[in-house]
């Protein structure tokens, strides 16, 4: 059984610990409308994986009588209930994080309850998730909200989608009903960029097919939900190809040591690699790759990769400060101050164009403004509609004009160098989550609205091959915009 409760724990704790040192981490989000059974499902996962302590269960038992909806039975949904004020005032403005583990993986669930605030909460929870569980009530099938949730997971770049068709007990565990819902879902999911969603029929209330295979659904030959969570491959959740290190902190304990600390956004780096620092374009070679350590003996490593938090030292004295980005010289990101972005607006005050805001992208904070709202997306119909402002919980495509050049990647390629938050200059509130799609057309137009000769194309290729540190853009890329 895949549950963290095996005999090893009792018979040979050291062997057990060894086994549990090497777990993978999977972060996921659960999405559903009110009453689809989200809390019950999460409660079930925690309960069946034995992550509930006796005293917590006792407290819930007490609470079940006070707030519960399941009569005398323990209401598993109360396990995941949140803040007291929220319970009393019925406001839900948050994301709650829950934890459980199996023998193979540790899981972090971003639990996003909520009604009006749903988009904002979901985007927040989805930003750190590698997988999304989309809940559908088997009685009602795909709803408007299902499409909305799916769109947001796709917008936030979640690669793995698990569609849990819940409350199968209320539709007589019908295979036909399950297949209908599957077809409904597939009908729209491709259009919003969801590839290969995995479907699981479950009953969160009875536990059927959550952790254990259900004898009520013999027609279902796929593994239960928990086992899906345990086995979905995670290799593709981190970009290991394009090295990017946003410099977070410069560590200078003494004159002989100058370390550039940061969390690797993508790719890997080795001692001896040629690197370029952006935006200065100064180059050097990696002298040391240092992992988090408490002593000289274990600090140096040969190679580091995303998402490690590391320190680099370089062979040459290069002026580098927080907000700069270190990349490999033969693999440069783009550089621009005009960006086309998607925004999820989270501020109480709507977005208006032409207002100065702060943009925090990785470790740099740059001043800028939105120069245009191209359109907003109606999260229910998923249609693009014209807009002059973006309100709380609205999603839109905008043109962002920065006061400084930044190096960046498209969010679809590298999340950490393609994502940003928008900060109010005066109240300091976080106003929006942003995802960079590409350099603005307006910035590209000036250079790309012409035909290039074969010679110019060759020259471009030559320059890009031999002088990567110039950060020269490819003509093909310019024209494709």
């Amino acid at each position: 059984m895949a549950i963290e409760q095996n005999n090893l724990m009792e018979s040979d704790i050291e062997a057990y610990l060894l086994q549990h040192e090497n777990k993978e981490l999977l972060r996921f989000i659960t999405c559903g409308s009110v009453d689809d059974g989200k809390s019950t499902l999460i409660g079930r996962l925690l309960h069946d994986s034995k992550m509930i302590f006796e005293d917590q269960l006792a407290a819930i038992n007490k609470d079940s009588k006070k707030h519960g909806t399941t009569g005398d039975e323990v209401d598993l949904a109360l396990l995941v209930d949140g803040l007291q004020s929220e319970r009393e005032q019925g406001i839900t403005i948050d994301v709650a994080y829950r934890y459980f583990a199996t023998d193979k993986r540790k899981f972090i669930i971003a639990d996003t309850p909520g009604h009006e605030q749903y988009t904002r909460n979901m985007a927040t929870g989805a930003s750190t998730a590698d997988l999304a569980i989309i809940l559908i009530d088997a009685r009602y099938g795909v709803q408007t909200q299902t499409r909305r949730h799916s769109y947001i997971t796709s917008l936030l770049g979640i690669k793995h989608i698990l569609v849990a068709v819940n409350k199968m007990d209320l539709v007589d565990y019908s295979e036909q009903r399950f297949n209908e819902i599957k077809a409904q879902y597939k009908n729209f999911s491709k259009d919003i960029g969801i590839v290969n969603p995995v479907f699981v029929p479950v009953s969160a209330l009875t536990g059927d097919n959550v952790v254990n295979r259900s004898d009520k659904m013999p027609w279902n030959t796929d593994v239960p939900l928990m086992q899906q969570l345990d086995t979905i491959p995670l290799e593709d959740t981190v970009n290991l190809d394009n090295f990017r290190l946003p410099v977070q902190y410069v560590n200078r304990p003494h004159l002989d040591f100058r370390g550039f600390c940061g969390t690797i956004s993508a790719g890997s780096i080795k001692v001896g690699d040629r690197v370029t620092v952006l935006p200065s374009k100064k180059t050097s070679t990696v002298k040391q790759v240092i992992q988090p350590a408490v002593g000289e003996h274990d600090m140096a490593i040969d190679e580091a990769f995303a998402p490690m938090a590391i320190t680099l030292t370089l062979k040459d004295e290069v002026d580098i400060s927080r907000g700069d980005m270190i990349v490999k010289s033969d693999d440069m990101p783009q550089v621009s101050d005009q960006l086309e972005v998607m925004l999820v607006w989270m501020g109480e005050v709507p977005l208006r164009v032409g207002v100065d805001v702060l943009i925090k992208r990785a470790t740099n904070v740059v001043s800028g403004q939105f120069s245009r709202i191209d359109h907003k997306v109606d999260v229910n119909s998923l249609e693009k509609v014209a807009a002059t402002e973006l309100q709380l919980n609205e999603i839109g495509q905008c043109q962002l004009s920065l006061k400084q050049l930044i190096s960046f990647d498209a969010y679809a390629d590298i999340k950490a160098t393609g994502s940003f938050i928008v900060i109010d200059k005066y109240t300091h509130a976080t106003l929006a989550a942003g995802m960079i799609q590409r350099q603005s057309n307006s910035a590209v137009n000036a250079t790309s609205l012409r035909e290039y000769s074969a010679f110019e194309k060759d020259l471009n290729a030559l320059v890009r091959r031999h002088f990567p540190e110039w950060g020269c853009r490819s003509i093909d890329e310019l024209l494709s915009k």
Binding site: M9, E10, E14, Y16, L17, H20, E21, N22, K23, L25, K50, I52, F53, D55, Q56, A59, K62, D63, L83, Q84, E86, R87, I93, D94, V95, Y97, R98, Y99, A101, K106, A123, T124, S127, T128, L234, E235, V238, L240, Q248, Y249, N251, R252, P253, F257, C261, P292, V294, M299, F305, P307, R322, L358, K360, A362, T363, K415, F420, I421, H428, T430
Partner: protein
């Protein structure tokens, strides 16, 4: 450390995340400090701070709000660790409470905690004007912690307002604040109790001996067993002391910290016991006993 060729284990992922948070705070705040409470979570947090800045020392002080009723062993451990890691140690005691001789035995746990801990913490923050204070709280500790942010904003009076909290996206933290406002930072938010113990085990992180089972003098008090740590404990209680093999799941003020009967003398045994008994650790801490949601109330009053 690595599962397949280029994949980090969950503990390494958690470590990387914590180091990222600690560095980010140090880069963006002027006057940070780490609340060091001597327990296992603080021990892990301190270890991570060392890792984040090595070969430099963590560039901020450790602060301890001393209620004067901590186990003697905790105080000795505190002094020793601060010396070993070479960080400045700031100890604060509420002078008014000290003068009044506030005692959990005489004044009760609520008043003691309120004056020596909550009020002491508030005074300490007013005095030193730290704009960012690291704390070792985890989201799995208690139900109301599950929604706590990593950067938890406090107003000028150190109060937490659920509506003033900011959404946290990706690993981009918004640390902008007005003068007088501050944040509590919880770099261990995503660690579970098991993660903490496994990491202590793997990294050989020093923790106080009180966590390990040993024969200790204990008495029945307030529904649990507490240890006789000094003779400020009322005589009538002290005379009932019996030697029993016990340990502590959590460390705090000795009159308010329940001992559990245990034979766990090594880390693996502690972990085994924890996994098999399934009683969440705060049960030993008397302040949370009253009702669910009490932690949240305490937080609004300025308790960490």
């Amino acid at each position: 450390m690595v599962i397949s060729k280029k994949q980090l284990t969950h503990l390494k992922r958690l470590e990387a995340e914590s180091v990222h948070i600690i560095r980010e705070v140090i880069a963006e705040f002027d006057n940070p400090a780490m609340l060091y409470s001597v327990g296992k979570d603080s021990s892990v947090m301190l270890h991570l701070a060392q890792k984040a800045f090595f070969p430099a020392k963590p560039p901020f002080p450790l602060v301890h709000v001393d209620t004067q009723w901590k186990f003697k062993e905790m105080i000795a451990f505190r002094e020793q660790r601060a010396k070993e890691v070479g960080m400045e140690l700031v100890v604060y005691i509420n002078p008014k409470g000290e003068e009044l001789g506030i005692s959990p035995f005489k004044h009760g746990s609520a008043m003691h905690t309120d004056i020596m801990k909550t009020e002491g913490l508030r005074q300490m923050l007013d005095l030193y004007q730290y704009d960012a204070v690291f704390g070792g709280a985890r989201r799995d500790e208690e139900k109301s912690r599950a929604k706590e942010r990593i950067y938890s904003f406090r107003d000028k009076n150190h109060r937490w307002d659920p509506k003033a909290q900011r959404p946290e996206l990706w690993d981009i933290y918004n640390g902008r604040h007005q003068k007088g406002e501050s944040i509590r930072v919880f770099p261990l938010s995503n660690w579970t109790e098991l993660d903490i113990w496994q990491y202590i085990y793997l990294e050989s992180i020093p923790i106080p001996d009180l966590y390990f089972a040993k024969e200790r003098p204990v008495v029945e008090y307030g529904g649990t067993k507490i240890m006789v740590d000094d003779d400020r404990m009322p005589e009538e209680l002290r005379v009932q002391a019996k030697m029993e093999k016990v340990r502590f799941r959590t460390l705090g003020c000795y009159p308010l910290t329940g001992a559990v009967a245990s034979n766990a003398e090594t880390l693996p045994e502690i972990i085994q016991e924890m996994l098999l008994t399934k009683v969440s650790e705060r049960q030993g801490r008397l302040i949370d006993h009253d009702e669910s949601g009490s932690m949240e109330k305490k937080k609004m009053e300025g308790y960490f």
